[in-house]
């Protein structure tokens, strides 16, 4: 049974990325859909097998740590790409640049004069309760005023097709290596499509990343020593750490490879002795970075690293304390933040949010818990959330209590009907929910946004959970030029 798109169950309840419910394949997706429909079952199966083999051979894995030791699991991948027309992507890209610029200005302000609080735009009590604000960072001025050098913002699309930012990841966002590897796999599986399609390349990310990191060096003019700092092989993103280090041609170091000298400079231990390190792309959370400044029991970090950073002898990307701006309550203020620092309207929308700290909002939220998604301020990965329409009355009651006890810690949003994209299930196409995580690089060179990003897909029917640890997979993401289509 070859693919017949008229049988694909596109509905009006969700926006489908490739197929419109009445007219069939969207213009940017037409070539792909026609091509897929021209393949026999046998050929389609071959493509799928080829992709699985490529993933195995290339060793694309993520790590799951269990009692029996850590296991590398093959990366779950769907061969059908997700397509976004270039004009639409250009608007999203401009919106992301605007957003990250404002967020960096906001973080820098919070660690200096806090003008936004003095001017009454951002409430002091929200900052006072932020668990990601680091007093150790007050007064520090990273180069270019940039704190979040690598930002991963999650984008979703609602029923009417509007793109929203769901959240910003400003600490150690991951996933970019899978974005790059997905393209490599797709090129192997569908080489013929890259010939006549106008698919924008994604491959230069690691070059851009290296240039941005090198621009942060405190010793300009020299050839800077850049390293990637990993918590080690038991971290679920270890594959990515090792991949990025390899692609940039820099050392992958662990905390124990580094030391801070009496001169407050950072050195790595090599077979030739100590070598000065200029820039650290750290993939360790703030609190584990330096046992001297943060958690004294951290074995992952480097003693004295904060001292060296404050003295301006080493650059850390992302800067410690950047996470203050990816709190869910701060998120609700991003439109105001953009307005305040840039005097512009946001180019890309926030999901409408109710702040439980505001009495009016709280009343609305408590009255409409069965319609809303409630999120705690500082959790990530979907922990501690209430999805109103799917929750039991008891759960809703519990959340009502939690909100009343600690209103500052909760926001609520409408339940979004996440968009879907055709996904190969056995031998036919079914809609599955997707999101998109682009990565934004800020530093010396002009701000760079990945072409598209990582599309994550909830492989289980009806599921909205895209995390790889919970049955999520991913797809290649094509930004396709549409002039003349």
């Amino acid at each position: 049974m070859t693919i017949e798109w008229q049988h694909y169950a596109a509905t009006d309840s969700y926006y489908d990325e490739l197929i419109a419910s009445v007219t069939g394949p969207r213009p940017a997706a037409r070539a792909l859909c026609e091509y897929l429909a021209s393949l026999s079952d046998e050929e389609l199966r071959e493509r799928k097998t080829a992709a699985e083999l490529a993933i195995l051979v290339m060793g694309i894995t993520f790590t799951v740590y269990t009692e029996g030791g850590s296991i590398d699991r093959a990366w779950p991948f769907d061969i059908v790409p997700r397509i976004i027309p270039k004009p639409e992507w250009d608007r999203a890209e401009a919106g992301l640049k605007q957003r990250v610029l404002a967020l960096n200005l906001f973080i820098d302000d919070l660690y200096h004069e806090q003008k936004i609080i003095q001017d009454g735009v951002f409430p002091a009590e929200v900052l006072a309760q932020s668990v990601n604000f680091r007093p150790q960072c007050v007064g520090v001025s990273p180069r270019y005023g940039v704190w979040a050098h690598i930002c991963g913002s999650d984008l979703v699309r609602d029923k009417d097709g509007t793109i929203y930012v769901l959240e910003d990841n400003l600490r150690v966002p991951s996933g970019v290596s899978y974005m790059l590897e997905n393209r490599v796999v797709t090129k192997r599986v569908f080489p013929e499509l890259f010939g006549h399609q106008r698919i924008q390349p994604v491959d230069d990310y690691t070059l851009r990343l290296y240039d941005m990191l090198a621009s942060l060096s405190p010793r300009p003019g020299d050839h800077p020593t850049v390293v990637v700092l990993t918590p080690g092989i038991y971290n679920s993103a270890y594959f990515e750490h090792s991949y990025l280090a390899q692609q940039m041609g820099v050392e992958l170091v662990e905390g124990s490879d580094l030391e801070v000298g009496d001169d407050d400079c950072v050195y790595m231990r090599t077979i030739e002795g100590l070598e000065r390190v200029d820039v650290i792309y750290r993939r360790i959370d703030d609190l584990f970075l330096d046992p001297e400044a943060f958690r004294p029991d951290s074995a992952l970090g480097v003693k004295g690293l904060m001292r060296a950073w404050r003295a301006g002898n080493v650059a850390l990307a992302n800067a410690p304390g950047a996470g203050v701006a990816d709190d869910k309550v701060v998120y609700a203020f991003v439109p105001e933040i953009i307005q305040y620092y840039l005097d512009q309207d946001p180019l890309i929308a926030n999901v409408p949010s109710w702040l439980c700290m505001r009495e009016k909002d709280r009343k609305y939220v408590l009255a409409n818990l069965d319609q809303l998604v409630v999120k705690p301020a500082n959790e990530s990965g979907g922990y501690g959330m209430l999805v109103g329409p799917h929750a039991t009355p008891a759960e809703r009651k519990r959340f009502a209590r939690l909100i009343q006890q600690d209103p500052r810690n909760y926001i609520a949003q409408p339940t979004l009907a996440l968009s879907t994209s055709p996904t190969l299930c056995d031998d036919h196409m079914e809609p599955r929910h997707v999101d998109l995580r682009p990565f934004i690089l800020s530093g010396g060179p002009p701000t760079y946004v990945t072409t598209g990003g990582l599309t994550r897909v909830a492989l289980r029917k009806g599921s909205l959970v895209v995390n790889s640890s919970q049955g999520g997979g991913s797809k290649d993401t094509w930004i396709v030029a549409t002039e003349g289509l």
């Binding site: 080690g232 077979i271 002795g273």
Partner: protein
């Protein structure tokens, strides 16, 4: 290159070599036992002393029986013995896991496959030879893959340092099996300093100083366990005899499992690396000791003591390498 990466690669290579040589060690003892008359009772215990694991072997059961089943199991499949074949392969694999970006992908796959083979095919008595053959072959393939596909840079020098240091050490241990079991038969007496190894392995038959009729067969099995028989025959064109075998395996310059050959390779690697003075000095002292020894005389007495000295020298060399390159 990072000290940690150098250290991991070095230990990866040592543990691959240790797995291979432990397999050879078991083979040599198996063959010796097959060749010897039934009245001999030295058995399997000496192997425990030769790999220096007596504390661990007797840790839980002080009176544990050191018979073939227990000793072979301990050397092949005991996860609590860090020098067992399965533990060595697991350690090699873990060391490589953290440094996968430095070695070619195929080498990682090969080590992974060998570990999985060993984990899933722990042998019974009849399958033992085939199992050991596969372990030896798998380890050789890893060496070949690294040699053929990895840049011969500093990282590769650490692979070679690990390989040759472990190999030199294990070749001496394999010879020690021979000393423990057989020199006594050839006329050793209780007057020399007795290690527990030798005390445990004294044959019941009185030593009479006569030429042992089994001797050349037994030296042949030592050679064969090191894949050295054919090369020995090409180079030494007389009947297999103890003094010549010892000279070939201790002082030989051409055979790649001979101690002198290994030390020469270690020197080549060290000279290419920075900060090598102390390690080269330790190596020079060891080479001098080896070259100066009248190894032909050792078949009559003092082989075990001499091997002890060589092993101490190798330990010092390791300490110098660790101090220069791995120190934290």
């Amino acid at each position: 290159m990072l000290s940690r990466v150098a250290q991991n690669i070095y230990w990866m290579a040592r543990y691959v070599e240790r797995a291979e040589d432990t397999a050879r060690l078991i083979n040599v003892n198996t063959n010796l036992l097959l060749d010897l008359p039934r009245t001999t009772t030295f058995g399997w215990l000496p192997l425990i002393f030769i790999v220096g694991a007596e504390d661990r072997f007797f840790e839980k059961e002080p009176h544990r029986l050191a018979d073939e089943t227990n000793v072979v199991k301990f050397l092949i499949s005991d996860r609590e013995h860090p020098g067992s074949i399965i533990s060595s392969l697991a350690t090699a694999r873990e060391n490589l896991r953290t440094t996968r970006d430095v070695v070619p992908q195929e080498a990682w796959e090969q080590i992974n496959a060998l570990y999985i083979y060993a984990r899933d095919h722990l042998p019974n008595r009849r399958g033992r030879f085939e199992f050991l053959r596969r372990v030896i072959q798998g380890a050789q393939q890893i060496g070949g893959l690294l040699s053929g596909t990895m840049s011969h840079n500093a990282a590769y020098d650490f692979v070679r340092l690990g390989h040759y240091l472990e190999r030199a050490d294990m070749t001496t241990r394999i010879l020690d099996v021979r000393s423990a079991n057989l020199l006594a038969r050839a006329g050793q007496t209780q007057t020399q300093t007795q290690t527990q190894t030798q005390a445990q392995s004294q044959p019941t038959a009185p030593a009479n100083g006569e030429q042992d009729p089994f001797e050349s067969i037994q030296w042949m099995s030592v050679l064969k366990s090191l894949s050295a028989y054919q090369m020995y025959r090409q180079q030494v064109r007389v009947r297999v005899n103890g003094p010549d075998v010892l000279k070939f395996l201790l002082q030989g310059d051409y055979f790649p499992r001979a101690v002198a050959f290994c030390l020469r390779q270690l020197e080549i690697c060290l000279r290419k690396l920075p900060r090598h003075d102390a390690a080269l000095a330790a190596l020079a002292a060891l080479r001098q000791k080896l070259n100066a020894a009248a190894v032909r005389e050792l078949t009559r007495e003092g082989l075990h003591e001499f091997i002890d000295e060589v092993q101490v020298g190798l330990g010092e060399l390791h300490d110098q390498i660790a101090a220069a390159y791995f120190a934290h």
